[in-house]
């Protein structure tokens, strides 16, 4: 892989070329197979980035090209020995040319803000941290066939919070052909923060990954305890690489569940700007997509009320919860099914039947998992720990066992299901 950057009028353009042994098909860190669509993309931060340390440019390039890189990568400017070492240790990739000194960590912690409940919770916990937000814009080489995705709405909501918001526009998601446009690696969402790290004097980027994503293998990365989560653990390949670029990832809410982040977000000043749906208009979420349904289950659970939805079990968006578990974000399905009154008349009836959760069996999802706090780098561990321990009960041995054996019986269940 060869990656080079060109800056013009405040926009940074990345162009990359495949080595002879590389192909259009690649694999993301979470195991998802992806296919390359085209080999260039741009990032345009709302403020000029100025001089950018080569390790930061290499880090951002790596967030885009990692799935397709095999064996080696040549950057257009030398990366520090520390950065090259992290690439080598994490992926077995030879990076070059090597030269110069590593980047010093800055003093500011920025929040990679998506507008959803998780990052709004992070924002509530860190009231002075500036936001950097990613805005998808069209790629000049690919007609946009995905206009339902309302990136403009999300930016307007972020700006309406009254916080210090810096928008970074980018078309980097369009380098993906398969499965659809999206971040080639999840870390590409931090494009703006990476590019502006020197200008904003950043020493870390805070993300809204909660216990499900960090410790329970949530999302498309399935359903098991992941202390060595390759994407989000501090000591994993990505954690080490970001730290090598003087920009460690910080996960302030990794010790609590999505129900608790939603609780924090909806009782915060940002309540009116919280939006987890990517499809709705300026006034409201669409209420029709799978994500709206999933988040409605969590919200109904924390508010102790019946589900408010027009989605029925026979709708395609509800299909996955008619099948047997495991489900992505299953801990929250259990939490919701245990708490929402009249769950048997909702699209989650089947899931509730399979999982048979109770309030008691899901109480650990209202408590904080201490190893997640220990993982937060200084100097931000202390304030986050103070917030967490003041607002949440610490998990006891039994709770911790639930976290640490999560998904262990999935194999048996799977066999049972035939």
């Amino acid at each position: 892989m060869r990656a080079s950057w060109r800056e013009a009028d405040g926009a940074w353009e990345l162009t990359f070329r495949l080595d002879p042994e590389e192909g259009l098909t690649g694999t993301v860190t979470d195991g998802q197979r992806v296919e390359l669509a085209t080999n260039s993309c741009r990032v345009r931060p709302a403020v000029p980035a100025g001089e950018v340390h080569p390790d930061l440019l290499a880090l951002l390039a790596w967030c885009v090209v990692a799935p397709w890189t095999r064996g080696r990568i040549v950057f257009d400017r030398p990366v520090s020995p520390r950065f090259a070492q992290a690439l080598h240790d994490g992926w077995g990739v030879e990076a070059g040319p090597v030269g110069g000194t590593p980047r010093e960590r800055g003093r500011t912690l920025a929040i990679s803000y998506s507008g959803g409940a998780d990052s709004a919770a992070v924002a509530a916990i860190l009231p002075d941290a500036p936001f950097v937000t990613f805005q998808r814009v069209a790629h000049p080489r690919r007609p946009n066939r995905w206009t339902h995705y309302r990136s403009d709405t999300l930016v307007r909501l972020a700006q309406a919070t009254g916080r210090d918001v810096t928008v970074a526009q980018s078309d980097l998601e369009f380098v993906l052909h398969y499965p659809r446009p999206g971040y080639p690696e999840h870390h590409a969402v931090m494009a703006g923060a990476i590019l502006l790290a020197d200008r904003m004097d950043l020493g870390g980027v805070a993300l809204g990954y909660e216990i499900g994503s960090r410790w329970l293998g949530g999302g498309r990365y399935l359903h098991r305890y992941t202390p060595d989560n390759p994407m989000w653990s501090g000591h994993g390949p990505w954690g080490t690489l970001f730290a090598a670029a003087g920009l460690p990832m910080v996960l302030p809410v990794a010790g609590i569940s999505e129900a608790m982040t939603m609780k924090i977000a909806l009782s915060s000043k940002l309540r009116d700007q919280v939006r987890w749906c990517l499809r709705g208009d300026a006034d409201s979420a669409c209420g029709r997509c799978g994500k709206c349904l999933y988040k409605e289950l969590i919200q109904a659970a924390i508010e102790g009320r019946p589900l408010r939805t027009e989605i029925t079990a026979d709708r395609p968006v509800a299909a996955k919860w008619q099948r047997r578990p495991p489900y992505g974000g299953q801990e929250m399905i259990e939490y919701g099914c245990a708490r929402v009154p009249g769950i048997e008349d909702t699209p989650f009836a089947k899931a509730a039947e399979y999982l048979k959760p109770t309030i008691e069996s899901t109480r650990w999802l209202e408590r904080v998992y201490p190893p997640a706090i220990e993982e937060i780098p200084e100097p931000w561990r202390e304030p986050v720990a103070r917030y967490m321990y003041a607002n949440f009960t610490v998990m006891d041995a039994d709770d911790r066992r639930r976290v640490e054996t999560w998904g262990m019986d999935a194999g048996a269940e799977g066999a049972d299901a035939g």
């Binding site: 060869r2 495949l18 002879p20 390359l36 085209t38 080999n39 690919r142 007609p143 066939r145 052909h177």
Partner: protein
């Protein structure tokens, strides 16, 4: 009592004048009857119109499908065709972009080979010159 007093105290002439004055201000009974008849007739004709309109709606509703087809002619087919074309063009453009990535990869491979050959040629050439000297 008051009626009696009124009758006694107010002369018939005046009473007649006052009654005439009042009557002039109100519609006569015959006119009333006529108005009511007119209103009834109006209602009846409106009812007939409503019935006719309802029948018309019913007829149009029944006729909607067969009627729409000749009016719109080839439109659904054209929309379908446009959609097919848009989708196929997009897919073709995607393949072109992917091919371009692969072409650059091939160009790079060739460049590297040419570089190697050129380096080889130089050494060949130097050896040849040495032999001649």
């Amino acid at each position: 009592m008051s009626r009696f007093l009124l009758r006694v105290l107010v002369p018939a002439k005046v009473r007649g004048a006052v009654r005439a004055w009042f009557d002039a201000r109100y519609v006569a009974l015959a006119d009333h009857r006529k108005d009511v008849r007119d209103a009834l007739w109006e209602v009846k004709s409106l009812r007939r119109e409503v019935v006719a309109l309802r029948n018309e709606v019913e007829r149009l509703r029944k006729e909607r499908r067969p009627a729409a087809a000749p009016a719109d002619g080839g439109m659904p087919a054209k929309v379908g065709e446009a959609r097919r074309l848009a989708e196929e063009t997009a897919a073709a453009a995607d393949r072109l972009l992917q091919s371009e990535v692969l072409i650059w990869q091939a160009v790079d491979r060739l460049e590297a080979r040419i570089e190697r050959l050129e380096r080889g040629d130089v050494t060949e050439g130097q050896r040849h010159a040495r032999e001649l000297a």
